[in-house]
Symmetry: C2
């Protein structure tokens, strides 16, 4: 069975304005690669209802899983949960399970469970909750869409929970041949070599660090022995 595909939808004005540098996409990319899911597309949209609805509907139709980050807090600009409900055409209310979780959390701390905090209990009808071990307010999964917080520590802890419930695929492995030669010098033989291995992905990434320049040739696939053999063959080919 081929690995399942995945997409990400990052939600937040602050990413698009440059105020905040997103780190969740890179974390998700690494986590999915290790888990054996293929991250195939990512999008970043503003805190805008129609943009979120359009983004999530486009991605959930194309990929096995969609992971979102951002917009599930207590403030007026947190509109993700309502947009996801609209995308699926389901109702959204302050759900009893989420109200109970949050209510107990604030009661234990002697803090008021006010209107704004109750907003974080707004969960689409058919969703299951995603555990938030950091700050209680849950994420949720509806259909194939996993809705998580934007704060990196919370995103990462929610993601770990979600992935534990998704069957492992074959992790995507890689081998790198680092050469102190320019891309333009090895591109033709490397291209011919890649064509002989249609089952492997091969990419070329130039580097230039402190005046030392060269190229990293990266071979990706799921079979370690096959990667080792390809790496050895590539090394021999390029030294010939």
């Amino acid at each position: 069975m081929p690995n399942q595909t995945a997409a990400m939808l990052v939600i937040g004005d602050e990413i698009l304005s440059g105020r905040t540098r997103d780190s969740n996409m890179h974390h998700l990319a690494m986590a999915l690669t290790e888990h054996g899911l293929a991250l195939t597309e990512a999008r970043v949209v503003a805190d805008d209802h129609d943009s979120i609805v359009a983004g999530v509907n486009a991605l959930r139709a194309k990929y096995d899983h969609v992971f979102t980050s951002g917009g599930i807090g207590p403030t007026h600009d947190d509109i993700t949960a309502d947009a996801i409900a609209a995308a699926f055409g389901v109702a959204i209310t302050r759900r009893a399970d989420a109200m109970a979780l949050l209510g107990a959390h604030y009661a234990a701390r002697g803090m008021e469970f006010n209107e704004a905090r109750q907003r974080m209990a707004r969960i689409p009808d058919t969703a299951t909750l995603i555990d938030n071990p950091v700050s209680i307010a849950p994420g949720f999964t509806v259909g194939n869409v996993h809705v998580m917080a934007g704060v990196p520590r919370i995103f990462e802890s929610m993601l770990a929970g979600v992935l534990s419930g998704i069957a492992h695929g074959k992790p995507l492995l890689s081998r790198t041949l680092r050469l102190q030669r320019g891309e333009g010098e090895i591109a033709t033989p490397f291209g011919a070599f890649a064509a002989e291995y249609p089952d492997l992905q091969m990419g070329s990434y130039p580097f230039n660090n402190d005046g030392i320049y060269g190229t990293n040739l990266v071979i990706r696939g799921t079979d370690a022995a096959r990667l080792d053999a390809a790496l050895a063959a590539l090394e021999e080919r390029l030294s010939a």
Copy 2:
């Protein structure tokens, strides 16, 4: 005149696999905000012809400008130029202007202007070249799409050239009120306040650094005096 809109298309397997952490999106976001263009959407796609064509066609129809990064080098996985030509339905050849630039560059260095390096002269017919002060191989603009390299130093230098040719909009400015109070405590008054300023964007960003937690309330707009007034009013409202 409202500010022009912009989108980004990041092209590269290495971003989606987590091997490389993209930095061009954050750089572009900051540069466009300063230049007065509104970055409204970003997408990341693999080095895959159909994905690039679909991405660029979706974005160029919706936004005033599209900025792409990645996939214009000499190796077999560099397929961006051909995909952009296909997206616009124009021919692509080794163009005389790009061949001349690159040919002179390699001749001056006594390096062979081989097949792979000539690949970097493949430019769609109707495009204009984007200067690459770092390593010569040009980017290009076709229609409203600006195609640039993925290597950050090169991307950044190409972008500076492109932006110098796009009329400045009003830079998006921001003011931040930092509070050592949780989001849930100030969300309701902040939401009511934001509703009184429909011309300004207001967002709330919780922080937690070394046990000090609180919320940054950010007000964004293009009129400095209006922002200063809103910030003062917000400060007074929340201290009341």
